[in-house]
Amino acid sequence: MSAPKTASLTVFCGKGGVGKTSLSLALGLRHALQKRPTVVVTSHPLRELAASVSLAGLKERYPEAADNLFVIHIDPREALNDTVRTTVPSSILVKTILASSVYQSLVEVAPGLKEIAFLSRLHRLADEPSEAGKTFDRVVWDAPATGHFLQTLLVSRNFEQYLSGPFALLGAQLASFSSDATRFAVLPITTLEEMAVEETIELWRQLRGDLAIEPKAVLCNMVSPLARSTQPVEELQAQLEAERDDGAVQFILDRNAIERSLFGKLRAAVPGALRLIERKAAWTTDLDLLLDIAKQMEDFPDDWTQ
């Protein structure tokens, strides 16, 4: 008997505002363009709006990719309610439980209950790719910002101390899934800005330390074409000419210097792979921007996402 078909999971995490949603959609797009059915699970606060705006026009321009790309938002509380629905046999009882204040207050204070329901839903998408009649090859998780992301992982790991019953089982399944490095790839994203770089270094440390997760690479998003240039600043300066005396040349040199120094700092602190995602200078639609990023992701190694 052949092993059941399972999808791989790619997790994009990092500070708020570094581009987790864009890169998640772009990776989804890259897979979909190569005819691999992919679902992007977004925890972005703007929910479906973000995706529908960004992907507007996909159906007209790339109908086949549009057929292979799915974006869903899983509300942790809804995921928990679903678990109750599948566990409790009587639908009348389910209704009563979900409506009861005891249950609602329990959901609010019970540590990690919503988180574990969310993660197990994510896990199910990867492991049973036939949910809702769809078969997915790839699952991409556009994770919440660093603090909440780490909390979600941590709280669901220390769960067995509280639980017995169906949730304890979910916890055990999750633990075995997340310890299988071939099944999922965690890719922290940063921009070359001081706060983001500091937070990324800390995130890298915590992933490897507290969670024993080895990130496959750190992605530097929205960089200028010269982020890794070694051309000395003075040489660069000599080649630029200001049309007015308003500090514009200095502005460019300053920003370029910041990028370079932060890239160096990151490289020194994060010994693994570093990848640069360049910001397209000009674009007409959000979809063009995503397609450009998807193109930049084409040479991502397979073991990141497989």
Partner: protein, 343 residues
């Protein structure tokens, strides 16, 4: 007394904008408190103050300030302990503080927003002319507005009040007095999550009841003031590329909750870059110049776009230019204040 609440998604410089607004107000003569809720913030670095807890006075004399600037970062655990100590019923204090569920409550997503309401309530009593609140990014900032009301409703409901008593009845009478349906419901929940957790939660709730009720009374009064447009206004902070989407999202969400949106700040707009590569420049230099010019043009286009859309809706629209370096101290923050004046 005025309250100004700054909302926005991550990475837009919300903390800096909030702190600079506080500095501006203080320079002009107010006694102002900047309260940051975001646990990931670097307000302390931005304001150049130490790490001790509680509100700290920021040394703003160099800017010929007529007022005072105070800064505080929300310490969730400390506020929660403080609240429990103040409100716990006789004999319940130790039980709550040492309860395993209590430890979890302190770490819960959303609890910082509940504590923020409590802290704002305290600030209101401390005689500031203005309180500026720097919220946590995005989703959580709105939870900060939703949760207290939810909590008030929760403890305000007679059915939940029963939870505590139910547990004690159940303990004392071995379920004898609990209705059959209530028992079935409880045992279903127990079999879902396990005996220990269900019992822990009920036990904790029965002890925590008094605290929650006292909290609900206090936060209801504070929430009322947050809904009063004479006292409280909201400012949306965003960056050029996020401006259109963020402004739309927060505008809608705040309207839905009937809050008064006074300002929209588009932060970190690049200046117009009239720079070209000299003849004979390397391709690298040429690419760099083209890239910077394009990005800066896109920034200004994004600003014009949101300004056109929101000027009929929001009274104060403020474009702020990208500053040369990180906001890493008072002088840099003061630069931002000056940019606010020029805009």
């Amino acid at each position: 007394m005025k309250i100004r609440i700054f909302v926005g998604t991550g990475g837009v410089g919300k903390t800096s904008v909030a702190a600079a607004s506080g500095l501006k107000t203080a320079i002009e003569g107010s006694r102002c408190l900047v309260l940051t809720i975001d646990p990931a913030t670097r307000l302390k670095t931005a304001l150049g103050i130490g790490t001790a807890g509680g509100a700290q006075k920021v040394p703003i004399e160099p800017f010929a300030a007529k007022g005072e600037l105070w800064a505080a970062q929300l310490d969730v655990k400390q506020r929660l302990d403080h609240m429990v100590r103040r409100h716990a019923r006789a004999g319940k204090l130790q039980l709550i503080l040492e309860h395993p569920i209590y430890q979890a409550v302190a770490r819960l997503v959303g609890i910082q927003e509940l504590m923020a309401i409590e802290r704002i309530g305290e600030a209101l009593a401390e005689g500031y002319d203005e309180v500026i609140v720097d919220t946590a990014p995005s989703r959580h900032a709105l939870e900060f507005l939703d949760k207290p009301e939810y909590f008030v409703q929760l403890v305000g409901s007679p059915i939940v009040r029963l939870v505590g008593r139910t547990y004690h009845w159940w303990e004392k009478s071995s379920l004898a007095r609990l209705g059959r349906f209530g028992f079935e419901l409880y045992s279903q929940i127990e079999s879902l999550v396990g005996v220990k957790l269900a019992r822990d939660v009920l036990e904790f709730f029965s002890a925590f009841q008094g605290v929650a009720e006292a909290y609900a009374r206090e936060s209801a009064a504070t929430l009322k003031r947050l809904h009063d447009s004479r006292t409280t206004s909201f400012t949306i902070v965003t960056s050029p590329f996020k401006a259109s989407r963020d402004a739309g999202f927060f505008w809608e969400e705040l309207q839905k909750r009937k809050f008064f949106v006074e300002g929209l700040v588009v932060n970190r707009i690049w200046p117009e870059l009239a720079v070209s590569a000299r003849p004979g420049a390397t391709r690298e230099a040429e690419a760099l110049v083209t890239w910077y010019r394009h990005v800066s043009a896109a920034h200004r286009q994004a600003w014009e776009h949101v300004a056109a859309e929101y000027s009929p809706k929001i009274r104060r629209l403020l474009p702020l230019r990208e500053l040369p370096a990180d906001i890493d101290g008072l002088p840099a923050l003061h630069q931002m204040v000056q940019a606010m004046g020029q805009a």
